[in-house]
């Protein structure tokens, strides 16, 4: 991983737009990114849950994997069912290591002729090197020079339908090409907020124009990485490097659902022995939600302990949840003490504060499945 302190932050195709909009900028994973705009994190968060927000996520790595046996080849690196992914469908999965730890989490889309893969900004150089090293000679991994924006919120579909008719009909975790104003877009029904919405991959030179068209819609406001973090935390979604990393397995992280049924039977992915064993007999610890009783946020690395007793785990992400109206957190606890509702204590500034283990997500997901309505 690159040292964010030493290298100058790189711009995204939207860095100029963020500055024009008055964003508070900060380096994130080597990119000059908006943390929030004038209205602040809480308003941006609440607007996303009630209307629609546009996020710049161009710092993330957008990769293609081409080659005859690309799906089977990628299955050697992830526990997900990639070979079974129909054209136009996408899947969340993880790159694992031999110990069952997580090297990165990623979204894989079967575009038809190739796989489109979105990886974390901080991991992308390592991921590309890992894939090039491990995939057979017939597979080529390339990074795309494109912008990526997320349009998220209950009004996202109505907004996009006016610019790209038909996009509103895409079910959650599917993808299709669209064109807006001559720009060729790869649209997916996906996101990182728990709300309905889209991630839209755009040629770099068209990204600002398309972003401005979306922001021109009265329902849409810009939102920064600050709101993106509180939204994903309330939605119970993991942040790589905080909630999951090489020391956590997919089973401990509550991501056992990403291990495909066929993959459970066949194995053949890094760390399969550890992961399949944890699936059979249970992991030693589990990722859970934590809801402090008071108003004090319990942040990452806060110790979680039994009431008046010994440490049972540690918080990995914690902040204020604007939709909850109080502090929310997630972390790992001993599997024997992980049931929702259990009273625990979080040790904030050397003081034990009452808290409870909570079911995730804190805010129900509102994805568009294509059924009903």
């Amino acid at each position: 991983m690159s040292d964010p302190e030493s290298a100058p932050a790189r711009p995204t195709p939207l860095t100029g737009l963020h500055r024009a909009l008055g964003a508070r900028m900060a380096p994130f994973a080597g990119y000059d990114m908006p943390i929030h705009y004038a209205r602040g994190i809480i308003e941006e968060h609440l607007h996303t849950r009630s209307a629609a927000s546009l996020f710049d996520v161009s710092h993330m790595g957008q990769l293609t994997i081409r080659g005859a046996d690309r799906a089977e080849a990628l299955e050697a690196l992830v526990p997900g069912d990639i070979a079974g992914l129909a054209p136009g469908r996408m899947r969340y999965t993880v790159l694992t290591d031999e110990a069952g730890g997580i090297l990165d989490d990623l979204i894989v889309t079967n575009v038809g002729d190739y796989l489109f893969v979105v990886v974390n900004a901080a991991c992308k150089d390592a991921d590309i090197a890992h894939m090039r090293e491990a995939l057979p000679g017939g597979c080529a991994v390339e990074e795309l020079d494109r912008g990526l924006v997320a349009l998220q919120g209950p009004q996202a579909a109505a907004v996009l339908a006016r610019l790209a008719p038909g996009a509103e009909a895409l079910p959650f975790m599917t993808a299709a090409p669209f064109e807006i104003d001559g720009a060729r877009l790869a649209v997916t029904r996906s996101g990182y907020t728990g709300e309905d919405g889209f991630e839209i991959s755009i040629p770099a030179g068209d990204t600002e124009r398309i972003a401005r068209m979306l922001l021109d819609r009265p329902e849409v406001e810009p939102a920064g990485l600050g709101a993106r973090d509180t939204l994903r935390l309330e939605a119970g979604l993991c942040l790589y490097g905080q909630d999951i990393d090489r020391t956590t397995t997919p089973v401990e992280a509550g991501l056992a659902w990403t291990v495909g049924r066929r993959r459970r039977a066949e194995g053949g992915f890094p760390g399969a022995r550890v992961i399949l064993d944890q699936l059979a007999s249970g992991p030693p610890r589990r990722r859970v939600g934590i809801r402090p009783d008071g108003r004090a946020p319990a942040r990452a690395h806060t110790t979680i302990r039994a009431v008046g007793g010994a440490a049972i785990g540690e918080i990995t992400s914690g902040s204020f949840g604007p939709s909850i109206g109080g502090p929310v957190a997630m972390g790992y606890v001993d599997a024997r003490a992980s049931e929702a509702g259990r009273a625990v204590e979080v040790v904030v500034r050397d003081r034990p504060l009452p808290a409870r283990i909570a079911a995730l997500p804190f805010v129900p997901h509102r994805y568009f499945t294509g059924k009903g309505g």
């Binding site: 508070r24 929030h36 994190i41 809480i42 942040r299 204020f320 604007p322 500034r349």
Partner: protein, 124 residues
């Protein structure tokens, strides 16, 4: 409004007799963003200049508030417990943090006056 004096850690002080009213500056609240929690000291506690006197938490992070003067904490702003957003809305008014009975009022003289603080902030 009486003159405010500032520390380079972005606390302000307003002197009322031998009492120093203490809060954080407009610049500090703007840098923090939405304040969601304030932890205040117990009245009666002795604080020395530069000691951690309170904690202010925004959505993003927790920050220490240092005592700009020495003395005994005689009051804290209880409404911040239920309405921490007061710190954003009225940082130098209703969003005050604590009151200290000063043991060395000369400490105030060494703090920055308004123009000097504004000049200091412009260099950040």
């Amino acid at each position: 409004m009486a003159d405010l004096r500032y520390s380079e850690d972005h606390e302000w002080v307003r002197v009322e007799g031998d009492i120093a009213v203490i809060g954080i500056s407009e610049y500090a609240q703007d840098q923090l963003g939405d304040v969601v929690f304030v932890e205040l000291p117990e009245p009666g506690r002795a604080v020395a200049q530069g000691d951690e006197a309170a904690v202010v938490e925004s959505v993003k992070a927790a920050s220490e508030v240092y005592a700009p003067v020495s003395g005994e904490v005689v009051a804290v702003n209880d409404p911040l417990a239920d309405d921490p957003g007061l710190v954003n809305r009225e940082p130098t008014g209703g969003g005050w943090f604590l009151k200290v009975r000063m043991s060395d009022p000369d400490e105030v003289e060494a703090l920055l006056d308004e123009p000097a603080y504004r000049n200091f902030v412009s260099t950040l």
